[in-house]
């Protein structure tokens, strides 16, 4: 047994730091310094950012331009439409796919492995990469954006929801199978009712993600409010950019509050 007290004063000894801890800390520090060099980080850059005279170009915000219907409000509505339709498509397709991807409810092993592999790769591609690819494929605009976000929300939703299915209570499913139920009805009556509240809650969360994502889609030409940001940025009208950003900021916060309140009631 380890001696935890010293005989003189009865206080416990301090645990000794292991060599491994030092090595890990050293490696992390080295990697950080190296990354910092690669990125061009020095402490003085913080000061240069703060003292840059360009900040003045962000002020004052031209509110009459921002609140003009065709400038900001219409693209903002488009952003919402992209988010709604992609949430419906993505989450709708995710429901059956999540059951395939969970070991508990998968119809057979090969389907499980193939579907899971594909979804992992799909999720590893960042959302705006999808947007840019689809803009190239089907043309600039909200149509490409909806496609991209549908794919992306499908991937995220499958990941979140299939983990819920993994940890679902297996007993109703076993009962349904013991009673002679075929695979699909057994899963529908044995598992679906217990995980459905989580499904709805995750869908709301994915909708929140989609609102945020659809705001920035326009930066790569995939429609929504982002295209206005991108255009004004290229004209160096940073005051207008700031005005749009403030509106986006308010909307994101409001949507998040509503979504959190709804999710609390569901789960």
């Amino acid at each position: 047994m380890n001696r935890v007290t010293t005989p003189e004063d009865g206080r416990p000894t301090r645990p000794r730091l292991k060599l491994r801890t030092f090595l890990t800390a050293g490696l992390v520090l080295l990697f950080t310094i190296y990354s910092g060099r690669q990125v061009g980080f020095t402490i003085s850059t913080f000061w240069e950012v703060w003292s840059n005279p360009l900040w003045e170009k962000f002020w004052p915000v031209p509110w009459e331009w921002v609140f003009d219907r065709s400038n900001v409000i219409d693209p903002l509505i488009e952003t919402f439409q992209i988010a709604i339709i992609s949430t419906l498509i993505g989450c709708g397709l995710a429901l059956p796919l999540s059951f395939i991807i969970s070991p508990l409810t998968t119809p057979n092993k090969p389907t499980y492995l193939v579907a899971k592999g594909i979804m992992n790769v799909v999720r590893a591609v960042p959302d705006l990469f999808w947007a840019k690819l689809l803009v190239t494929a089907v043309g600039i605009g909200a149509f490409a954006g909806s496609w991209a976000l549908s794919i992306f929300s499908l991937a995220v939703m499958v990941k979140l929801f299939s983990e819920t299915v993994d940890s679902a209570d297996p007993r109703p499913l076993e009962a349904a199978r013991a009673a002679g139920g075929r695979h699909t009805p057994a899963v529908r009556t044995g598992v679906l009712p217990t995980v459905f509240p989580s499904y709805v809650a995750y869908s709301l969360y994915v909708f929140e993600l989609n609102i945020r994502a659809s705001i920035v889609l326009g930066l790569v030409g995939a429609g929504g409010i982002g295209r206005v940001v991108e255009a004004q940025r290229q004209y160096f009208r940073f005051d207008r950019v700031l005005g749009i950003l403030l509106i986006i900021f308010v909307i994101v916060i409001v949507i998040e509050q509503i979504s959190v309140a709804l999710r609390k009631r569901l789960v």
């Binding site: 990354s35 990125v39 360009l54 709604i84 591609v125 149509f143 496609w147 979140l160 930066l219 940025r233």
Partner: protein, 283 residues
């Protein structure tokens, strides 16, 4: 003896209302998105056409253009962003936690966390690029600022879930507030917080890849320029390298997080804790 089945719960009216909301939402959205049937039917073929032309990926050409270095630049940006986020958020998380901080300090700090979190990284980068100039530094700063918001919130929740006993013990020995935090709270929460940092790093790698698309350094710029030239084999190679790096980092980070939380023991659903915190849903 046969037993009558229990009556089905009556939810028909509510279901119709929900269905109506869904259909109305879908119709309104589709109407606004200038979708024609021809476009809708043509889209899968167009997407497949592009996917088809990415094969075989031109790894050699892409390698000579230094794309591997660009992917790693994205990783460095994500790492510096995470470090900025972690270093700035940790002290503020203590000041924002309900159980260790007075109301007049924690309320404003919580609001700042929420406000910072609400601005997407790309939007931050749009603001920062004119100030810092094009380059990886804009991306790192944007990711760092955004990470302060999320990491601060997660760390704050970890502190709120910690056991108050050790803090009381420190206070009983005459320790000041800082000693209570250092010896009473920090040792309890550090494993969880470290695993959040790593989890955020995984998210940031994807974010920094995207940031390159608007000129904030990293692999995104490479993808955009290859797509502009419609050089699809190179696009395929860039995508493949990015996916490989992202998946490796996910796997490595998940392994380290598992070691930190469980000491290497077996865990079921190791990502679920992080996912639950991310979405505010506990199982």
């Amino acid at each position: 003896m046969p037993v009558a089945a229990p009556p089905r719960p009556r939810t028909a009216g509510r279901n119709w209302i929900i269905a109506f909301i869904f259909v109305a939402g879908a119709t309104w959205s589709i109407a606004g998105l200038d979708v024609t049937l021809a476009r809708l039917l043509g889209a899968p073929a167009d997407a497949w056409n592009i996917l088809h032309r990415m094969f075989p990926p031109a790894f050699n050409e892409v390698y000579q253009r230094g794309v591997v270095g660009k992917v790693f630049e994205s990783v460095y940006i994500a790492w510096i962003g995470t470090i900025i986020g972690a270093v700035v958020s940790l002290p503020f998380a203590f000041l924002a936690a309900t159980n260790v901080s007075p109301r007049w300090i924690r309320t404003p700090i919580r609001q700042i966390f929420n406000a910072v979190r609400a601005v997407p990284e790309l939007i931050l980068a749009v603001i920062l690029i004119p100030i810092t100039g094009l380059g990886p530094w804009a991306g790192a700063l944007a990711i760092g600022i955004h990470s302060v918001g999320t990491l601060g919130k997660w760390a704050c929740e970890a502190i709120e879930n910690s056991d108050h006993g050790p803090v009381e013990a420190v206070e009983a020995c005459g320790g000041v507030w800082v000693s209570g935090m250092r010896w009473g709270v920090l040792p309890q929460v550090m494993p969880v917080i470290t695993s959040y940092w790593l989890f955020r790093f995984e998210i940031n790698v994807r974010a920094s890849a995207v940031l390159g698309m608007i000129g904030a350094g990293g692999v995104g710029a490479e993808l955009v320029s290859q797509l502009v030239f419609r050089n699809f084999p190179a696009v395929g190679a860039v995508l493949a390298i990015t996916v490989a790096v992202v998946l490796s980092i996910d796997a490595l980070s998940a392994f380290v997080r598992r070691r930190i939380i469980t000491g290497g023991g077996p865990t079921k659903n190791r990502n679920q804790e992080a996912t639950a915190d991310l979405t505010g849903l506990k199982h």
